[in-house]
Symmetry: C3
Subunit: 416 residues, 3 copies
């Protein structure tokens, strides 16, 4: 018989109780997906701490070029300085707090607040502020800086005061970045999918392919990962053996709860497509110039992730990036990025609609799936359910998540 | 002078305080119509406990036919099984909680979750779930069952673990169900009216006819109940005397606080229309074939209710059903159902627009009235007002409501 | 380096803590602009206490004419009685709380509730209520009265039980009201601007002209106040000297924290336009007949305010009124009123579009500015910023606001 404990009494359990009561091998309890207080703790412990993909250097080639990266209540200005560096600042004027940049992207010599015209240079230094009296110190009123790291041309930001290290990841994966020509890619397209669900349901959806066969027939025609656990393992073993010497096959499984101490989590893995498939496209044929030093289609794709919400799928001829960010405790945004060789010309070397087809259609399906998941989870009768053998990566995410939330409690005086 | 106590201090009174301070003969205090915590207690004590009208067997004639009944955060699948029974299940997958049925109605051999393809039979038994490991027990992972009772062809559901009994009601009113041919009706139309007000303001509106004369001129031209208390009583006495031997006149007043112990509340009563009127229509003439064993129009209509939010008005030639369900603490839905003889053909025996006219127009008016009521109740200056002599049925509702909420407190350790 | 204290720990500070920690010379902390509990305290301590502009007598010339003044959850009926007086009542029926007047303005002999037809006369006295039993007292069930004061033809209301006095203001400024012919104005236009920001950000925006030069070029072409503090002071000194004997130049600086004990705050001040400018218009020329006893354009305009949220700018030929009211803790409404001489004919003596142009365009700009301000203030990284020398009036508002909130705490047993 179903357990109806939730209906019996008001739930007075603390976040610490909920974490303690988690049953490994099961999905999270309802409150993790609904409770505004837990959401507040997540913002602090996860989104104001970890590295997230902001965008790509090809979006801001010239000095003064900027774009905004936004999540929850935050807006970050990512900008190319006169010196050619990539910098990031909070989009919050130090006078009375107004947004400074109102457009999603643009070019500007100075960052000037539209309210009272306080003006900052591209490094965030306050340059002009009228009528502020003699004891006002401009040097104390620069824009709040945000940490930036470039991974190839990918721009990662961390809003933490002291961010986790990315150095180990960069050293470990230097050969991967070279093989796929990370320093010579460009962003070909980006699309935002707002989703009426808690961000974790979206992130979990990305982390398991148990749903791929029933939900994503387009994906399942190309990727071996939609197969059963056993069939995929057999397929992969054969593929990796044949690949020797071409693309790195050695896995780096330092993701989520397997991250090294003091370092941001990351993963690299090489996986097969189905026999005869070359790339993530309708029909599975290649759709863009080969990346980096890749000489020919080899029937595989690499998984790459950095931090908790930024994921990449590297085909031989293009790369797809995924980022999941919360917009409230019950809504989130999934941003999809498509990357190609930096010297590829749209309309000549690749067709934009062809390039984006598979992951556009797949994300549209996921958007619907995730909303339906949230609606069911909202029920008084939802209970944590058993995870399948194809949801082991998701289990690592859940372990890491609960551990992060536990740290968040012990870092405050009395828990949430 | 008006009492302005509300403005003086923050209101720290508990639900128990509010219940204790209720003055009989008056409307409820503001917080009952606004407070999200009180709403949570109501869901538990009322909507997850009592019987509610879900729909009618004529909506699901064939095996695999289903429709959804939804309120608050809940969705219930009501389905016809292969064995011909009517069953109901929570629309929540036992894996990770997704909604299973996404359409409001349909037909399906299996109830298959669109996310990971867990598949249940029409009785809610888990049939297939891939890659779940050897220790997974399908038998423990069936859909959460919901209790179903048929009253004639009306489908009632209760989400309680141990529902209240309907047996006494069924025995008592067997003659009524026969007279009006409950087992041989069909649902001719259904319409949902979303209302931007707390559900109790909508339910209360249905429970008094003090507003009928000023607000519902179309109704008042047909129904004697819109008259003053004294005029209606006189009219009724005369009508019931003349009716002897035709339709049951004996009242069953077991509604709300007058329900028998352990049983769901219900009511049956026979009331007159105005002289010369036959049915609830424009002009008051009959508009559909006579129901059950009714031989001729007799100038009356019966009130029938089961549980707290399901009401019926049985004319000689058709029946109108009303159901009030919350969608949040400040919004609700009023669903109106029109029933006719099962063998009546639309377009030949009755015209749909003619059939639905009176209660469509009346409910549209009520929707506006109820929203205006909520807006005034929201004021800091709203104070409980004195009920009229024509609001005695509403008083029973309020008594029952407060008593139910009181029980809810004593069933939990510390109240809300 | 930026202070990131907010991210470290949940904010458990009380309202009293926040008030105590305020740094003079700086903007308020984030929670004053976001916290629903602080908003509740503001409603009680500010909006249910102080005088606010409701409208103008020219809106209700005949007996039974009424209009609604609405803010937060409140609706006030302002009505002309048979005796010719202006009265105000809460728009809340004493029966079950329904709104009585549903239209924003109209004419009616009685105020009749559309729900159950309880009917009140224009003085708010309950006249008819059917079926209420013998012990019901109509005299105890009149509409909740709202205090009204006329200032010239301006209608002010206070929802307080014992309002602050306006007598001193009326005596002090009698000559001003005469000069500008307050008793002989009419409302020519009114426009509402809903703003997705806390009401204080809108009020603060009106209270400083530090933003005028960068944000309002149309205003800055006419008004000297957009100049720097020093330039404006020089301009003003010269202007006031030249004005002797024409319009009152003596300031009444009893605003906000400078109000006299027991009296509502108010201000009067005379300020210059830029050289050659006559009125607030495109090009700065006069656009309507001169007000009151004004004989010729004199190149200035008067500031006049009553209470915390009602402001007036009196040109020689027309007057603009501003009112800021909250609609929730995160939204507000700015209402702009344009007044002209009572005998001026639209289309002949003035053109409506010409009349309203400057402050319509300026308020549209402000609406955008204020929303951007709120968005930045919402950031975890927003910190109180230093006010400029041109924000001294805003500083008085902040001082008064914090003092009002402090009083609100000491008037309740345990603070918020």
């Amino acid at each position: 018989m179903p357990v109806r404990a939730h209906c019996e009494n008001p739930d007075r359990r603390t976040l610490a109780d909920l974490i303690r009561e988690y049953r490994p091998g099961y999905s999270l309890e309802q409150r993790f997906y609904k409770d505004p207080e837990i959401y507040k703790a997540e913002i602090k412990s996860i989104f104001l701490k970890h590295w997230m993909l902001a965008g790509h250097v090809s979006q801001i080639p010239e000095a003064g070029d900027f774009f905004l990266f936004e999540f929850d209540v935050e807006s970050v200005i990512v900008v190319r300085t006169k010196e050619g560096a990539v910098k990031a600042h909070l989009n919050v004027c130090r006078h009375r707090g107004s947004r400074i940049c109102l457009e999603k992207e643009g070019r500007s010599k100075l960052l000037t607040c539209p309210y009272h015209a306080w003006s900052y240079d591209l490094n965030g230094k306050l340059m002009t502020a009228r009528q502020m009296g003699t004891d006002f110190k401009k040097a104390d009123n620069g824009l709040h800086p945000v940490h930036v790291e470039l991974v190839g041309g990918l721009i990662f930001v961390s809003l933490a005061e002291k961010p986790l290290s990315l150095a180990g990841m960069k050293e470990d994966l230097a050969d991967v970045f070279e093989t796929f020509g990370f320093d010579n890619m460009k962003l070909a397209a980006q699309k935002s999918f707002p989703i009426a669900a808690n961000w974790k349901l979206a992130a979990e959806n990305y982390q398991e392919c148990y749903h791929c066969a029933p939900s994503h027939q387009e994906y399942a025609k190309v990727h071996a990962m939609a197969l059963s656990k056993e069939a995929f393992a057999a397929h992969r073993e054969k593929y990796l053996a044949a690949l020797a010497g071409k693309v790195r096959t050695q896995e780096s499984p330092y993701y989520f709860d397997q991250a090294k101490a003091g370092e941001e989590g990351y993963q690299y893995a090489r996986n097969p497509l189905l026999s005869g498939m070359e790339s993530g496209s309708l029909g599975g044929k290649g759709i863009a110039p080969l990346l980096g030093t890749i000489a020919e289609f080899d029937g595989g794709a690499s998984e790459f992730m950095v931090g908790p919400v930024s994921f990449f799928l590297i085909y031989n001829d293009h790369m797809v990036g995924y980022r999941f960010t919360p917009t409230s405790h019950e809504t989130c945004c999934c941003d999809v990025f498509w990357f190609v060789r930096g010297d590829a010309d749209e309309g000549i070397d690749y067709d934009l609609e062809t390039l984006t087809w598979l992951w556009d259609i797949t994300t549209q399906s996921d958007e619907e799936i995730i909303v339906n998941n949230q609606q069911g989870v909202n029920s008084h009768f939802y209970t944590s359910g058993r995870l399948s053998e194809m949801e082991s990566f998701e289990q690592h995410f859940l372990n890491w998540y609960l551990s992060s939330m536990k740290d968040s409690i012990s870092n405050t005086s009395k828990g949430q």
